[in-house]
Symmetry: D2
Subunit: 406 residues, 4 copies
């Protein structure tokens, strides 16, 4: 590290710099280093083999974009102090630190109902103690209580640097180049009015394109049927393991994973007893992957079959449709039960259905504000002749079923 701070090579942005020693101290912390071993896209690499990138790289990237956004706003005369810059950079750097491995699967099983944002905040508070209060302002920015709302909006809103980075990065690593967004133009069009983050009118088409690219990434990548199926497989593995654990069955795995398999920890528990958080911060992809590998030979047939499916990529067949799929599910259940000879209770691990949904633009919570040339402020969906209109704000629901082909 020289006078210009640490420089890291990032395939997406090139050289990125971390001039602040405070930021480098956070990056070096074991709880942040842990993110090196948590992939951003979980099991999606089974469909997109390039998608091995980590939450570590994403967090650095988002921190870089935050720096660029703040520089742009300062160049436009928006008042942002050095402390506020540092707070916003720290907040975005740590925004994902509460993610566990295969986060979506985990939130449906081992830490059911506990959001990663909640855990991120707990971790930030813990780090704040370690760093003697140096993160207080960052926590306010993250938690939306800081007096300048635009700083929080840069961390978390429909146009935050988190999304800008992950859309770009996921697009880059999956090779779905259509998801690439023109982040530099969007950053350049950002402005602040009455404390709110907004986009200059002439940037409206860039933002429209960003929304459409996001829509494409959702339907083409994040909700890709095989990606969905591999995620459901992981959820089923953890669900089955949980049930076995509750029945007292032995499941070889790491100490940290054991803790969350054999105990049911509530959000409140995390607050009361620090040891839960410490063990949670020991978990990464390696714990899950090594468990699955060793469970491939477990005596519970359901568990071992599911683990073998995952380990050797014999994934569910998946159908996604706006049509009702109950009949198809019935057929597939019948075929499977005839051939596998397993109980109805167990069948739900091998043939099952559900609903997936996604809105293109959410007008309920935080809208994207456009600063019109005539000084008005409009919602993105309320400009003349909008691409992103009310209809797109409605969530789209699709049915899916997953089944095995015996």
């Amino acid at each position: 590290m020289n006078a210009k701070g640490k420089i890291i090579n990032d395939p997406v942005y090139g050289f990125i710099r971390f001039p602040e020693p405070e930021i480098m101290a956070l990056i070096d912390h074991p709880w942040f280093q842990r993110l090196r071993y948590i992939r951003q896209m979980g099991s999606a690499h089974l469909v997109y083999p390039g998608a091995m990138h980590t939450r570590f790289a994403h967090s650095l990237g988002a921190c870089y974009l935050m720096g660029k956004a703040l520089d742009e706003l300062k160049a436009k005369g928006i008042d942002i102090t050095t402390e506020e810059s540092l707070a916003a950079r720290a907040a975005i750097l740590l925004h994902d630190v509460g993610h566990g491995p295969f986060s979506h699967a985990l939130e449906h099983t081992l830490v059911e109902g506990i959001s990663h944002e909640y855990l991120s905040e707990l971790i930030m508070n813990k780090l704040n103690e370690e760093f003697n209060g140096a993160l207080s302002e960052a926590i306010e920015v993250f938690g939306q209580s800081y007096q300048k709302p635009f700083l929080h909006q840069l961390v978390s809103s429909q146009l935050d640097v988190d999304r800008m980075d992950y859309l770009n990065r996921d697009s880059f690593y999956t090779g779905v180049s259509e998801g690439v967004i023109g982040y530099d133009r969007i950053l350049q069009m950002l402005t602040v009015k009455d404390g709110q983050l907004m986009v200059e009118e002439k940037g409206v088409h860039s933002v429209e394109k960003f929304i459409v690219a996001r829509r494409l990434m959702y339907w083409q990548v994040y909700l890709h049927k095989t990606v969905l199926g591999s995620e459901m497989l992981l959820i089923n593995i953890l669900k089955r393991a949980r049930i076995l654990a509750q029945d007292g069955v032995t499941l070889p795995c790491s100490a940290a994973l054991k803790h969350f398999l054999y105990n049911q920890i509530s959000a409140e528990d995390f607050k009361q007893d620090k040891s839960h958080l410490e063990l949670f911060c020991m978990l990464d992809d390696v714990d899950i992957l090594s468990a699955i590998k060793s469970w491939c030979t477990h005596h519970d047939k359901v568990l071992s079959k599911l683990c073998n499916m995952m380990q050797y990529r014999k994934l569910y067949k998946v159908v996604i449709s706006t049509d009702n799929l109950d009949e198809l599910k019935g057929q597939k259940t019948k075929v499977a039960s005839e051939q596998l000879g397993i109980s109805d209770e167990e069948m739900k691990y091998f043939v099952f259905g559900g609903i997936t949904s996604k809105d293109t633009y959410n007008t309920n919570n935080d809208i994207i504000r456009i600063a019109m040339k005539n000084e008005d402020v409009k919602d993105l969906s309320a400009i003349d002749n909008p691409v992103v209109n009310e209809a797109l704000a409605m969530p789209v629901h699709k049915n899916y079923i997953c089944y095995i082909q015996p």
Copy 2:
């Protein structure tokens, strides 16, 4: 040229090959070589300095994409003969051969009301004579009379390889990277049903993104106010020159340009007398640019002032708005007439207004067809939850005024 045909380095696609000797013969023809000296984007380089690319490069690029599209369709089992491939490749190669220099300006002045498609067809017929009928099938494909409509649709429709190339190429050369489209995925999603070109359902988001990228290119580049202003300046120069010519004033310029300045040639004339077409095929950017340069010192004050404005990039100020701009135009006229002391007749070269319009997706003529998984065929704007909906099909009109700041 070796066994694999001629290879050309294209900055957009890398190496592109022309294995057919027939195609190479067309490329080598003087009338096609002429496109080397006609820029694709006319005077837009005054705003985007990188945009110096030519209709020559665009035509080669479109021909390359046609080859890729045909290969994809053939791989899907669509019946396309070697002759049809060659015809489609020749048709797209020559689709722009009827463009004059600064085409949009020319079509409003020197060859008023004569479309470049009309001239392309005349030229193709002329070449067909030279090549002893080898282009007959290409002309049918171009002219929409060939029995397989999808071949024409690849040449000219809302999803043709012409647009795919020029959007990509213009985006590349202007540096407006947001206009880049994922042409390879779109090509891969093309299919043919009942003779019609369509897109597989799973490609719908790629097409949506293509439409939104096109919309962005229109508002951000093609209708950029300074681009619009420079094009209007060129139109005014040619209009003024025309009027002077009709009054018998001497205007130094090339013989070919002189022919079209001093004579009014109709579409019918082009057909009757081959010499018009031959002279037209002598025109390129150099004729216009050298004329403007020499007219900078012309004794007609209006002409020389306009030419100086163009040569030294002292362009009109331009305002574009959905509001009525009549009042503003009145003010600007008053200021200009007070300071310049020119007649009302002449003032219209220096302060004037108009309407510009653009639709994002045109549902009137040729729609984009989506081949649904359930065998239906839908219009792109009729799928569930479309980005490209009926509202976007309505043309957007904007008022503009151009004026000089004395």
Copy 3:
């Protein structure tokens, strides 16, 4: 999978196709799927966070380049049968299948002295049995016994598609964009003469640039001092674990890893007893990473300290120099031994030195042949005014020391 075969999105090359069902069957095999969990660059991601790509993706990429190379040669009239194409594609696909996790470290410890090429060949033979002899020709190509030497040279030589892919891919994922090579031009310049692979004279500068890019990647990435240090750390962990295992100390880890820690398996053993190979094919990065994690709390202080250094990225300090470093090593040893109070025997895990070496172009074994226009064949270093000359063929030796800063 449709008529055109399976298509995979690769961030480096875009869409890549696998039209042959035989190749797809190999990819689907558990022993090949295992490569999904073996990173190409081992622990280098600790320096280049983007470098998470796997041997799986590299093998697919090399197979893609092989297809392109064969197409080029066929277009030049070189006789290559469909069977030979398939054999060459299978050979390159499987060329790395014998890699274990963190291969370089492993080859110095657990499978000491057994090369991955040796294991790849054993595995290919085993697969050949499973696939009823379908791989016989591929094995001949891989093993250099096939009658057309150029096929083997495409798999393994100083200009093989293996190197082309890994240089490109490593460059892409590390973000060291200078390592990117113009693989398409090199492929296009390949030719065959008297059965030998060579490069047309006009491609000589592209090859020179390839060699220089490779040199840059070596000194800047592969032999980067921190990369070197992290690899040495891993070697030391495995060495220590091995010694403890031989002393009968219990080391929690997966069954497969245990097998290689507690037994010394020779190359000959691998041939005699199939179970060694089967267990080897169970090993991937997860086994190593989960072991290191659990050994962080091992009672052996040396092992646990080394594992903590790795897990939390407290890496060795490293000095690389052409100067003699013995004195510096002495100083560092003194400082460390004073502060750590550990035995001389144990000190060698914390302060140690060695020699690293690299040649830019190796003229001993297989040279790069240039097909001169005048029909001669020259070695790359024997052309007029070569960049890659004899001097560059000499290996460069550098001294290094690694030490901890207590």
Copy 4:
């Protein structure tokens, strides 16, 4: 233009900013605007159709790189004042302002023996008068008389931002992607010691790669045989026109071109009489191209034939070789003279030969200095095991002949 200055979209670097009003005033000057109409690579677009980029874009790009280089040096603590920054930026912006159209051809004919650097300096002095001395420091930097040599070295040396930009830009627009250089890493490795520009030791491989990329661009692009042939054709056109002019033959062309065709202007003349410089600053590609077009029908058979060859791309056949080509030249002369029936005097326009030469690294004038870690300064070719060695510093001579195939 807002508070952040003018922003220009550059396809090579993305958004580039010109925050200084002084720089914008220079860009807006007619003599700089002229560079919009002078292509960087002259007639090379006849081989590489994408290479239409202008000296205007190159000058902006070099100015951008200068800004980045200065920022890097300042971040390393090198003392550079705001005035010096501005001077260096102005110097590089104007470094090519003395280029005429098709510069290499012109320097061999119309302004024989007068270098573009000489004219650039004259023009800078003239602009300095107009801008009341604001360019004095820039002129010192340009002319090597400023007290801090590294500023001049950034403008003009073997590692200047001029080369960095044109290699990158030419590589980008020709589509010869192998010529792309890692300019950002080189910029980052720059440093200053005792007032001299140098490269940090760890940047040595990047510089080697830069030199090899430059070598590749020379042999593959700049000295490509067809590029060479088209340049010789242009030289012959201008030579013939000159001879005709001296004989009093009428040659239709622009007034500015006429001035230089019919008069022989010396370097001294340019200084004595300002009108020469003013007329020179009227010349751009359009003057040459329109002249060639109109001379296609000139009654001098030699001139009209040469012009037709250029206009319709019937270029010379060219052979380049280290062998002696006299015999081949004799044969081609014989064939041509038999068939064309022209005089020996005229034959030299249609069959002729010469020598082309290029050194990869020039150790005579200004070397590339490497700042070694141990405080030494070494020449790039004097480091251990150099790629760029003494042998590469020797110029390579090649013979060529151009001839027509009647």
